[in-house]
Subunit: 109 residues, 2 copies
């Protein structure tokens, strides 16, 4: 199981512009058969700091996500409004602390 | 609903020392009645970079967590092995992209 945190930093003048792009990206990604969870958050302290928290079965599934039509079309558009480069963190559950069923409970539709 | 990402950076010589402290912190925190989720991950690229992803009903619940006996006892011990200060990010779900039942599906025991 692969957990991902992807952080975007959007110029404050363009937050309203990216919101429909984010919304479509989230909706289409959740329809991918291998997507276990895909949630988008915003930093309390910075309305242009967006944070995706994602769960994928493995790296191959993440790579397939990054190759989808919606990712390839929407992410470059979103990146055009960045104030600084995005940051990506790939993680494993920490051995001995796994939450049983934490990300397999109920499919998020 | 409040989402938290808390990142710890532990000196590589002390990873084995902090693991039982993390394990106790995770176990006891998940028993808190207001804890909706509390997961610990490790960065693929850095075995001393630990990432908590947490869900709380609100800021008051997070503050209660930070005041618990186990937090007050364990976190200062863990921090004694840091290689650099921790980072904390408090977030809201991004309006219009919320995943229904994403963090209310099934209690994680």
């Amino acid at each position: 199981m692969l957990k991902v945190i992807a952080q975007d930093f959007i110029h404050p003048d363009h937050i309203e512009t990216v919101m429909p792009l984010y919304k479509e990206l989230v909706e289409k990604t959740r329809q991918e058969p291998l997507c276990l969870s895909y949630e988008l958050f915003v930093d309390h302290k910075d309305p242009g700091h967006f944070i995706f928290i994602e769960t994928w079965p493995d790296r191959a599934a993440l790579d397939m996500h990054c190759a989808t039509e919606h990712f390839q079309r929407l992410v470059p558009q979103i990146n055009g409004y960045q104030s600084q480069p995005g940051q990506f963190l790939l993680m494993d559950a920490c051995a001995g602390t796994e939450a049983l069923a934490a990300w397999t409970a109920v499919p998020v539709l």
